[in-house]
Amino acid sequence: MSIVQFVVVMIVPVCVGIYAFNFSRWLWNQGNHLGGVGGYLMTVLSGGGAFVYFLFKLLI
């Protein structure tokens, strides 16, 4: 596992996380607080979950 490969793989969940976070922030700012909460949950699930999964998969 080269470092380049590692970075390329790890960058995907980070990007998706930023994207989902932006979306949820937009929802929250629109006044849709319930949707905002759902979006933040989504951010944690997708970005965070995938990040942890890839980290463990690649390191172990």
Partner: protein, 428 residues
């Protein structure tokens, strides 16, 4: 938030008043757009587009009968031996009757989706629970199906390609499908339905030289008990009751919702049943229960003269096409239901994050045996709770609660005027 809700509410009322003259407008506006005082926020406004009866039927049929390419035949053959071909028929009938009952309940609510009804008439929590349960179910199902199809592709046509690459390719196309939404998917489904039926017929007719009717007896296999049990637990792939009762407003002709559900369920049952007859008649039960993808083995058998032989690569076309549609709808439903659960106005931004989750979940099981065990022992065994029991229960609860509230209102007039107004309009 309350402020914004109040304001949007006023505009909705105004809009409805402007449309009061047109009968047709009432009918259409009630589809997914009605909202009462409780249902503020804009979550009901996710626009799905509309699709016709034939399109919906084709999509649901393809979605459900795609399981026949995977491990479903071998699982059913293991459970019920020679009587396996009766299982899908029985499951289809169960699904159809459940859907019928749900539709009977939904008649009371003037063609509004199930989640909207729950949210407005029962409690927002109920609507959220149903939507989240559906989202989870479809996420897990799509992930498992994706893994199974990936393994099929790797074993059949691309043996030296890493599974992750195959999955990513699938995922890209599937995300495109989910992004384009239900309108596009129904149209692709109806375009491909003819090709798929033709291909399936070819796939079943060409290996008929190996067909031996005696392998089908005894007809009842392991007996009535296992057949009924298997039929009951294997209903999780029949999604019309759940999906159609939620997406009712997106059917172009509201009168035919019931017909879509019944026809697609029964058609699927018939298709799978025929396939099972051919598979068992060709391989015998003992073998069918052991091989992971019987349809692939069936395709390998084809030998009609020297020129037409070994067409299994050609049938990759059929499988992958069906798989893309199935996973596309699965991902779309996941994103849509999640958005509905949290009253988000859009679902499309959720497609990419859910695609990533799908990738991760589909690679959580270490190998394909675990995947098949999971889908056989867990998803298929308990999935009917979501696809059958949940809509039935939810619809019954909605009817009972609504009836009780109406009774209460009749005894105590003037308690909740906006609701009564809305109700009359909805029933008109």
């Amino acid at each position: 938030m309350a402020d914004s809700g109040q304001r949007t509410m006023d505009h909705r009322r105004q809009w409805r008043r402007t449309l009061a003259g047109s009968q047709k407008s009432k009918q259409r506006s009630s589809g997914g757009r009605t909202s009462t005082a409780e249902g503020n926020g804009n979550g009901n406004d996710i626009r799905t587009g509309h699709a016709g009866v034939a399109e919906w039927t084709a999509l649901l049929t393809i979605y459900t009968s795609t399981d026949v390419f995977l491990s479903y035949p071998s699982r059913v053959a293991e459970q019920t031996a020679e009587g396996a071909w009766m299982v899908p028929l029985l499951s289809a009938m169960i699904a159809a009757s459940v859907f019928w009952v749900v539709q009977l309940c939904m008649l009371r609510f003037s063609q509004t989706g199930l989640i909207t009804v729950l949210w407005e008439r029962v409690s927002p929590v109920a609507g959220m629970v149903v939507a989240l349960a559906g989202a989870t179910f479809f996420l897990v199902q799509t992930a498992l199906v994706m893994r199974e199809f990936t393994e099929t592709v790797v074993t059949t046509v691309l043996p030296s390609t890493p599974a992750a690459v195959v999955t990513i390719l699938f995922l890209v196309v599937v995300m495109n499908y989910a992004y384009k939404g239900i309108e596009g998917m129904t149209r692709v489904a109806i375009l491909l339905s003819v090709v798929m039926l033709g291909g399936l017929a070819l796939l079943l007719i060409l290996p008929l030289t190996w067909f031996d009717p005696s392998l089908l007896s005894p007809v009842m296999g392991k007996g009535v008990g296992p057949i009924v049990l298997s039929a009951l637990t294997n209903t999780s792939m029949f999604i019309p009751p759940f999906v159609l009762s939620i997406l009712q407003p997106s059917v172009r002709n509201q009168k035919h919702v019931l017909r879509i559900g019944l026809v697609s369920s029964l058609l699927t049952g018939a298709i799978i049943s025929v396939v099972l007859i051919v598979i068992i008649g060709t391989f015998a039960v003992a073998v069918t229960g052991k091989i992971p993808f019987p349809m692939y083995q069936l395709a390998r058998l084809i030998y009609v003269g020297r020129f037409v032989q070994r067409l299994e690569s050609l049938f990759v076309f059929l499988w992958s096409a069906a798989a893309v549609i199935k996973m596309g709808l699965g991902l779309w439903l996941t994103a849509y239901l999640y958005a509905r659960a949290f009253k988000m106005p859009l679902y499309r931004p959720l497609v990419v994050p859910f695609g990533l989750i799908l990738f991760v979940v589909s690679f959580l099981p270490p190998d394909v045996t675990t995947v098949m065990n999971l889908s056989g022992q867990v998803l298929e065994r308990y999935g009917w709770i979501v696809t059958m029991a949940l809509p039935l229960l939810a619809a019954l609860i909605a009817v009972v609660v609504d009836w009780l509230r109406e009774r209460g209102r009749r005894h105590d007039p003037g308690s909740d005027p906006p609701k009564g107004e809305n109700r009359e309009e909805a029933l008109a």
